[in-house]
């Protein structure tokens, strides 16, 4: 029996559920993770990642020494384009010590002072030459609120740019824009644990069991123990379908007709809540006209969901005392992601299933701190607290807080994450600073992303590993994972929770907030902005307090108050208990706004040449680009990418289970093994996004939603043909699990 040196209470770094952890440490090694059974978030339950997924902290390939390319140390300029020592089809984890043909492009280990000095010099050189529009930054939904606040503060105050974004653009941007437009706020309206008080709930576009495992447990509990009825609308026969009253197997990208048809039935059968519509909403009449075309029969024709099931779903939802909607990327990651989310919001408006406990509009946020990073202003249109950057009063507020001269901050809307790299050319974006993100895995159409990365003049990456993205970097700044730093994460239901260091940083690695403050101190004198904003914080608590002083939602949140149990913002003052349920009396924008919708098809439909629709997503054992999970025992539990195909499709194309296939879209191809399973529906294939050796995003379509600028990850046309096993990047990695 191992006696721990210490047990540290902290918050899980994986998904948005925000499970409370107790990390057991021996000799600075996490050997066991437990969870308090009285936790309000996860009641002592964890998933495989949260309980066992921490090997990456100790992985020998983790970089713990600052590194720069040789040409920078020798004061040279790099000729031509950057050539990473990394091939998308090659080994998944490129070694940093590989020799490249050009010695100027070798990594050289150095010290912090040199690495930060070079970073500051290069950023300032580019800024002085090309101005604000040449600067850009990706903040990080895995880092703390404090880290994100500081990074956006650096780029706003020092480089006067709003080219600041993070991966929310790739995940829930459609939902955020739709919610901002319809209600004026963009977080979950209710608390996840309230699902047991739902009488009926809809889960759509979310494979909750794999992506928010602990919320899925609460959903199953609601069905099995509290008599709730669950409606699942998803093109895949996901695990939750076993517990559902109704499964609507819609074709990818047909959310708008299906949910609008439900609205049509609710109106036709007069199941609407007239009081709610009259008192709390606007635009109903125009909306009604737009609904006429969405009959259940029309929806059946385009989506494949039987009209009668749509009718039943509408009746269940509208007649329930308390009904809620939970949704994920299947709604937002479409070239009409905003419309898709609006079609759900309309259901809540029509029936008044919002503004009470047990109801609500609940986008399940993906990353542990994607809510927090958005709240902290890691976005091109907003300062912290969703204050628009093009509003003078807001800008003035932050100029005062950050000690910037009046009119100093940029009022111009910045570029989004899906635009920044597209602008990486002479006269456009020249410098990119990435904290912890991995666009070379998570962007759509990676062949184009790669081309854009090569066009950058300077790329600094602050991360744990040389991954697919940092292989392009000029400077690598080794940061610390959650277990080696202090701060706060904000989970999907707006709960601000503490993150605590369980062990000292390994090697020379440093917490992100310290790296950023040190960088800022080197930028200020070079830009002649000496001591404008202050950067001499003693702890993340001071960073948080500076933010909470300006953003009213967080006015009552302090480290002391969230020491044991997190608080759900808004927390208006020091005595306010937090807000589990939003919109009880009114919406932030006043009245909820109906928006007439049309059915917009996905950009690429299946045809004779590309007969399958590919949809992408995640699996339980892995996390996004895999920087963490593929460097841990989780990779042993799920070692290879698999494409899922329905038995009927497999038979027609002469494909058998376990066979190696080549999957090709109009943009790229990957080679991987196939799993023949009824988990997917006829005509639809599925590939998880985590595996560099068969990166699903080489295939995906980079078409964007016009409002939210979110790409269409969830639908593109592909062809599938048999290939040879020796064409696999690693034929020895075989998935052999009972549950897949």
């Amino acid at each position: 029996m191992i006696k721990p040196d210490r047990i540290v209470t902290t918050t899980c770094p994986y998904c948005g559920v925000g499970c409370n952890l107790q990390v057991h440490v021996k000799n600075d090694f996490i050997f066991k993770v437990s969870s308090p059974f009285d936790s309000p978030v996860n009641h002592g339950n964890l998933c495989v990642k949260g309980r066992f997924g921490y090997d990456f902290i100790y992985h020998p390939k983790r970089i713990t020494t600052p590194m720069v390319r040789r040409y920078l140390l020798e004061g040279k300029t790099l000729e031509g384009i950057r050539e990473p020592e990394f091939v998308q089809h090659g080994n998944q984890a490129p070694a940093h010590d590989l020799q490249s043909a050009d010695h100027n492009w070798d990594w050289v280990e150095t010290n912090w002072d040199t690495a930060l000095k070079i970073t500051a010099d290069k950023l300032v050189e580019i800024y002085k030459r090309d101005g604000s529009d040449a600067m850009s930054v990706y903040c990080c939904a895995k880092a703390t609120n404090e880290d994100n606040y500081l990074l956006q503060k650096i780029f706003r105050t020092q480089f006067r740019t709003n080219n600041i974004d993070h991966c929310t653009r790739l995940c829930h941007a459609g939902s955020v824009v739709a919610l901002q437009q319809a209600v004026g706020s963009s977080a979950m309206s209710n608390t996840a644990a309230q699902v047991i008080t739902n009488d009926v709930f809809i889960v759509t576009g979310s494979n909750t069991s794999e992506n928010h495992p602990i919320i899925a447990l609460q959903m199953k509990e609601a069905v099995e123990k509290y008599g709730a009825k669950m409606i699942v609308a998803d093109p895949r026969r996901i695990d939750l379908v076993d517990f559902a009253e109704l499964w609507l197997p819609l074709k990818p990208g047909t959310n708008v007709p299906v949910f609008s048809a439900m609205a049509h039935v609710i109106v036709e059968e007069n199941l609407v809540n007239h009081d709610f519509i009259n008192n709390r909403t606007e635009g109903y009449t125009e909306f009604l006209e737009s609904l006429e075309k969405f009959t259940p029969e029309y929806a059946e024709e385009v989506s494949g969901v039987p009209a009668e099931d749509i009718r039943n779903a509408a009746r269940l939802y509208a007649n329930a005392k308390n009904a809620a909607i939970y949704w994920g990327m299947g709604i937002s990651q479409l070239s009409h992601g905003t419309a898709s989310a609006l079609s759900l919001i309309h259901l809540a408006f029509l029936t008044g299933q919002i503004g009470r406990d047990g109801t609500g509009l609940n986008p399940l946020r993906g990353q542990n701190n994607v809510q927090g990073a958005s709240d902290m202003g890691a976005m091109p249109f907003h300062y912290p607290g969703y204050m628009r950057v093009d509003n003078n009063d807001n800008a003035a507020k932050w100029e005062k807080a950050w000690n910037v001269e009046p009119g100093g901050l940029s009022r111009k809307l910045g570029l989004t994450q899906t635009e920044i790299l597209g602008h990486a050319h002479m006269g456009g974006v020249r410098a990119l600073y990435i904290m912890g993100e991995n666009p070379m895995m998570s962007d759509p159409n990676l062949n184009v992303t790669r081309h854009h990365m090569e066009q950058l003049e300077f790329l600094a990456v602050q991360d744990l590993f040389i991954n697919e993205t940092s292989a392009f970097a000029d400077v690598f700044l080794p940061a610390t994972p959650f277990a080696e730093k202090e701060g706060t994460f904000t989970n999907t239901d707006r709960r601000v929770q503490r993150v605590r260091a369980a062990q000292p940083p390994r090697g020379q690695a440093r917490p992100d907030w310290e790296i950023l403050c040190d960088l800022a101190k080197r930028l200020e004198p070079r830009l002649g902005r000496a001591n404008s904003a202050k950067w001499d914080y003693h702890s993340p608590a001071e960073v948080f307090a500076e933010m909470a002083n300006v953003v009213p939602d967080f006015a009552g949140v302090t480290y002391e108050r969230i020491d044991k149990v997190g608080l759900q913002y808004p927390v208006w003052d020091k005595d306010h208990p937090g807000t589990p349920t939003l919109f009880i009396d009114t919406f932030p924008r006043g009245r909820g706004k109906f928006t007439p919708l049309d059915f917009i098809h996905v950009m690429e439909e299946a045809d004779d040449e590309f007969p399958f629709i590919l949809t992408t997503g995640r699996v339980l054992e892995h996390w996004h680009g895999g920087t963490m999970t593929r460097h841990s025992a989780l990779d042993e539990a799920y070692p290879e990418a698999r494409i899922e195909m329905h038995p009927a499709d497999a038979e027609m194309h002469g494909i058998i289970d376990g066979m190696t296939v080549r999957v090709t879209s109009r943009r790229g191809e990957v080679i991987l093994r196939v799993t023949v399973t009824e988990k997917t529906t006829v005509g639809v294939v599925f590939i998880p996004m985590h595996f560099a050796e068969a990166a699903a995003n080489l295939l995906t379509n980079d078409a964007l939603d016009p409002q939210a600028l979110i790409p269409e990850f969830k639908a593109c046309a592909v062809q599938v043909f048999p290939a040879r096993e020796n064409q696999l990047a690693n034929p020895d990695a075989v998935l052999n699990r009972g549950r897949y």
């Binding site: 090694f29 996490i30 050997f31 066991k32 309980r51 123990k225 841990s632 042993e636 539990a637 690693n730």
Partner: protein, 232 residues
């Protein structure tokens, strides 16, 4: 709501909500009833019988974790009969299983002066450590069949149903269906079972490897090699 109940535990009056167990009533007034299989987050099944108490008018000792408190009930939690029964339970456990990873039970043995050698002829339950997945190991020599792991895998938490009892009587064991290896079952490797195991029969692989004498350094390179093909 119905009126509160009043009962007497060890001569002390306790007022409590209807539906509460004797154990909850005792906890309310700070009377400590020892438990082994009971866990706040799982359904109680009165399997280990450690929590038995004497209830006036009842012929048999009653398990406090499931027996509901009733009006005017008179309960003794530390009568000679109760203490002897608990001591025997501990002696029987110690004679058949490995308690080395169960410090709470070892403390109970010490405090109740149980004789761990009382049944020298008893057959011991000895099995090999099952190390068949990357996340946790199962050492059923240390299992006392408290059922917590089965319950959290089923409808107390996870709704996965990967494990259950197999065998009868002394042969009873926790097992997967057809004794398949963990990766071949419906197991999602969540480790809810590890979280509630009271005796170290279920243990994170990392903790197990440290116990085997591996250093963190050695453990950290384990998953960096090439994957082994597990199935031809």
């Amino acid at each position: 709501m119905a009126d509160n109940l009043t009962l007497t535990i060890d001569g002390q009056q306790v007022e409590i909500d209807p539906g509460s167990t004797i154990l909850e009533a005792a906890q309310k007034v700070g009377i400590d009833i020892p438990t082994i299989c009971y866990h706040e987050a799982t359904t109680s099944n009165a399997l280990c019988r450690m929590c038995v108490v004497e209830v006036e008018g009842q012929r048999l000792l009653q398990p406090a974790c499931i027996v509901k408190a009733a009006n005017d009930m008179k309960v003794k939690t530390n009568s000679e009969r109760v203490i002897r029964s608990r001591r025997t339970i501990l002696e029987m456990l110690a004679s058949t299983m490995d308690l080395s990873d169960a410090p709470e039970i070892l403390t109970m043995i010490e405090e109740s002066r149980a004789d761990v050698n009382r049944f020298p002829q008893a057959e011991r339950r000895e099995t090999e450590v099952k190390d068949d997945n990357p996340m946790y190991v199962r050492d059923y020599s240390k299992c006392l069949l408290c059922w917590r792991c089965v319950q959290v895998c089923a409808d107390d938490a996870q709704f996965t149903f990967a494990i259950n009892f197999s065998g009868r009587g002394f042969e009873t064991q926790i097992a997967t269906f057809f004794d398949r290896s963990i990766p071949e079952t419906t197991c999602v490797l969540c480790g809810q079972c590890v979280g509630v195991c009271p005796t170290g029969a279920l243990k994170p692989k990392r903790e197990f490897l440290l116990e085997q004498g591996m250093s963190p350094q050695e453990i950290s390179v384990l998953n960096t090699g090439r994957k082994k093909r597990r199935k031809p």
